[in-house]
Symmetry: C2
Amino acid sequence: MTTPLLNDLIKALTALPGIGPKSAQRIAFNLLERNRDAARRLSKVLDEAMTRIGQCTLCRTFSEAPLCQLCASTNRDPAVLCVVETPVDVLSIEQSASFRGRYYVLMGRLSPIDGITPETLGLPALERRLAEGEVKEMIVATGTTMEGEATAHYLRQMARRAGVTPTRIAYGVPVGGELEYVDGTTLSHAISSRREY
Amino acid sequence: MTTPLLNDLIKALTALPGIGPKSAQRIAFNLLERNRDAARRLSKVLDEAMTRIGQCTLCRTFSEAPLCQLCASTNRDPAVLCVVETPVDVLSIEQSASFRGRYYVLMGRLSPIDGITPETLGLPALERRLAEGEVKEMIVATGTTMEGEATAHYLRQMARRAGVTPTRIAYGVPVGGELEYVDGTTLSHAISSRREY
């Protein structure tokens, strides 16, 4: 009994991650009832963002300009390069304010079965960058999935070949976390990665 | 460290009900990473829907045509009119497949403090419709909030003046609900609205 256009809208809204048919319906009615201006604004910026946001030519993160803000900045240490899987990882690390080096964004992780090869992830370009000699340490912050670990392994070999020190961020019990609530895999990793203090 | 346009997108997404800044960020990155086509489709249909969806001239629900599907249908009983607060209420009742009459959608509930008067809710038009004599029963399905009850009270008087039987949908313990989990207000309403059987 909804109109054809309203049905289209509800269907299009379910393309958003985490939005099911019920939420989409609620959002559609809410926008029509009292938020038409905001919805039009969203429509405009959505189209603009999808069209104009490309990738940084140096680090591959999302950027409207050829060079992203971080790569263009002169305040960042060029000797330390942090390799992450996605642009949102960059955001998370920046929000922790714990890193002043530069980034390289893979936009995925090695998975030959899915056709994701070193070329897909821009690894040849990364290797050329390491060969230039400016980078001294490469921090690998890929995930702990099987593909993330395989990618980390590949990156380590690449760094060694270029004479760059490869490091891996620490995985373990979250700070403030109680052992009781930590899953077994994390805990066994935390124990096997223990260090003298 | 996000781009200006990406910031705009995240901000525009928080206009959606139930989407906070964190979800908006996740949605924005997800769309950019692997759903640009769906996002463009959403942008298009969003703008179209906000511009083209108006209200049915007869029952005031959302409609692209002057008359909505339900008002245009000849299969509905014109003697029973169900008054609801919002278009989504129509949808809910239709999905329950328990009603074959027609609807009237108030698009709100009486609240003089907020400037929502009988005129805002189209009640003069409803009164004229009742006066035509085709409607025999008016089912009032406004909510149980104070404003919903005030609206129901106003509608009952209107129906009485026009010689139409006013009825109110039943409020009480949900079917299949256990008394243990029903809130006190609902339970006391269910007890005071008890009927012989």
